[in-house]
Symmetry: C2
Subunit: 436 residues, 2 copies
């Protein structure tokens, strides 16, 4: 039976997962691919740790370039992560004419344009299914299933840590701080959780998939990013009473001229499948002409789901090699010559539905003043709810709006703050209504 030699740089959780699957499921992998995938060399700073696998002598090395430079290796899996040595490893492997598989969303979001061009020029694959949504075939679906469709929207829950925290707050009414602490103790959140709860990891993923979906260069800098740390049980509870759940959504939309690309806590109606994705699960909804919504959901992170995605890319490349052809599917979905710069619409220019929570003094005329300012900015109120509950010396005033423009909303909130009728800053959460 033919062999395809693989090298792995970075034998942490995912790298070890890949090696484990290659051993445990060797039989079915060979029966499906028609060749044996062989781990030829693997690099890690720590080659002494027991990984529960018998690698045999000389397979592990501390030098990543012994992997990238090994003439017998056809496919290099970069599993280091981050934007440091990982970039060098990928570049060197490409220069050596090797196909590369990576799960490194941060690197691709920041340096993807140059890396993809490098791989395209060299005629090798740079595959990255594992960078977004774990084992869910989101990249394959955009590149290979929706080939004949104009994609209009990509909307997703792409960070398991945030979804876990929001689910805990939703189910138990605990605060963000409590839910975060719990997530950290269970290993669902890092000691420094900023990358996750600040929305940055989600932004890396949105940068990658919106570029793919719309045939544009990756543009991380223009993405609007707002994290989940200000979400309170009170907002979640009110949302629930109105038929919504609060999720950290990545929203990428294209109207043919400009792209909306934004990450923020979002109220999602129960009828939307994303509302029902809970715990550390991920999900992506794709909207395209002719097909409406298609939703993929599954485990977005973790050893085995990520290793599965890496191995699906490895299998794709192995099958190309065995079939004797070149690169079949353009790395960025569109042929390199068709990749454009598409402007990202500033957040001020978007139009959506809004939820506001004001905390106001309980006295006559306050509601009328607030409603007046919103009306002056053309913001139409859909529903208002004021409770008797005392909060920080005031009472909460909840509002849902019809479709409005973000800049108008921001101006209104500024004017309302200046009224000095509030005991707290207003809370704003955008709503993603079903469009049908």
């Amino acid at each position: 039976m033919k062999q395809i030699n693989i090298g792995i740089v970075g034998m942490g959780t995912v790298g070890t997962g890949i090696a484990k699957i290659m051993v445990q499921n060797k039989d079915i992998i060979s029966a499906r691919i028609g060749a044996e995938l062989v781990l030829k060399k693997a690099a890690d700073l720590d080659i002494e740790r027991d990984r529960g696998i018998d690698f045999g002598p000389d397979l592990l090395t501390t030098d990543p370039f012994l992997v990238t430079d090994d003439p017998d290796i056809a496919i290099v899996a970069e599993m280091v992560g981050g934007t440091g040595i990982a970039k060098e490893v990928i570049e060197r492997a490409i220069e050596n004419g090797k196909h590369v598989v990576t799960a490194n969303k941060a690197l691709l979001a920041e340096h993807g344009n140059a890396l993809f061009e490098k791989a395209e020029n060299k005629g090798v694959a740079l595959a990255y299914e594992a960078s977004v949504g774990g084992c869910m075939p989101i990249i394959k679906t955009i590149r290979e299933t929706l080939v004949s469709n104009r994609i209009e929207a990509v909307t997703g829950i792409l960070n398991g840590t945030c979804n876990y925290i929001l689910t805990r707050i939703t189910n138990e009414g605990i605060t963000f701080a409590e839910a975060l602490k719990d997530a950290q103790s269970k290993g669902f959140a890092e000691a420094d959780p900023t990358l996750d709860v600040g929305g940055f990891d989600t932004a890396h993923k949105l940068a990658i998939i919106s570029a793919l979906a719309y045939g544009m260069k990756i543009n991380l800098d223009e993405i609007y990013i707002e994290g989940i740390s200000n979400i309170t049980p009170m907002d979640i509870e009110f949302a629930k009473d109105c038929g919504y759940r609060i999720k950290l959504l990545a929203i990428g939309k294209f109207d043919g001229n400009a792209v909306e690309a934004r990450i923020h806590p979002t109220m999602v109606p129960f009828s939307n499948q994303l509302a029902n994705v809970s715990g550390s699960m991920n999900a992506v909804s794709l909207t395209a002409d002719g097909v409406g919504n298609m939703v993929l959901s599954g485990r977005g992170a973790g050893m085995m789901p990520t290793a599965t995605a890496v191995l699906s890319d490895v299998a794709d490349i192995a099958r190309n090699i065995l079939a004797g052809g070149g690169i079949r599917v353009p790395l960025r979905s569109y042929q390199a010559a068709n990749i454009r710069e598409v402007p990202i619409r500033p957040i001020d220019d978007i139009k959506t539905h809004y939820y506001f929570r004001f905390t106001v003094f309980d006295r006559p005329g306050v509601l009328s003043k607030i409603a007046g300012i919103l009306g002056n900015h053309g913001i139409s109120i859909k529903s208002v709810h004021q409770t008797e509950r005392k909060l920080d010396g005031g009472v909460p005033l909840f509002m849902l709006t019809h479709r409005a423009n973000e800049a108008d909303v921001q101006s209104s909130l500024k004017e309302i703050s200046a009224l000095e009728v509030s005991t707290q800053n207003p809370v704003l959460i955008r709503i993603e209504e079903d469009e049908s």
Copy 2:
């Protein structure tokens, strides 16, 4: 720009949809594939009807074999459906060395083994993404994403007509007959609805995907099939009170020795994503080692979703042709030499949870007798509920069981019927509990 010539046999709804997309989205298809897809010839019995497309002269023909035999055509899309001429068209195209794309689940479920072998021997593709789940990439996900995983279960809502009818009964409390009539008037159900509501269409699809998932020959005959025509609003209401929705599920499970393959109305807990898939939408849940559950959902039928799936197959084949390689992905997921005969477990041997509804005379001792019979067969009752509501001279008695064996359940129900304490036959609905 290079051209790939396509032929279509059967210019009904889906065939016309394919032609429409090829015209409307020509720009993006070319930008993604790097070649132009050209409709060279299309056959249909009716070539006079206005399809809203300008085909130019001589493109339409009434002779399907002018398509299959055209030396300029590389890919033939069989869109006739059924098991008659469609089979001949596919066989002839394969014999002529053409790649074939089909959406014909009935044909593949009945004659797929022979057709796949024919295509494998000839070295051409026989692609069928459109045969299951419309635009959802269920076949691609099994063949190309879960390459390194042992698939353990495939569970799906695969018939939009049934899901639409069950959703109407659930939401409005109408009867099956009323919901069916409504579905027929809205075009969601055929005049003769047997293929759909009897579960047969779902069985065709399960036959195809369980073969794919488990590397086995297609085996339609052994699939247990039960339709939805006996489902009543009362059962749906009780299910809801207990936290379940009733769905027509296709269930295909593999324990390494034998496959369970069954189609029947199923109580699905709200926490299961499939419970939240409503109306004519389809969804499939895939369970595999390491990745847990992954769910795909979307439009499972209709002109554009099906045409999209056909064109994703066409694009895959076109990319193979352009890259200059042979067939990359085995048609049946496993290499032909690895496809086995795997026994399908008889329905009597399955173990699952059950819902029973008895309609019994309202007199002392009845519950004890029924519970006694169940106990004698080792069936453990999880909950019992009896209402005062009169029904057909009796009162309904609802029961949920722990995991039990089907044969024991059937023997018990027979004994209970023989007691002559019931005014109606007992109702049995299987339950698919979350396994985690």
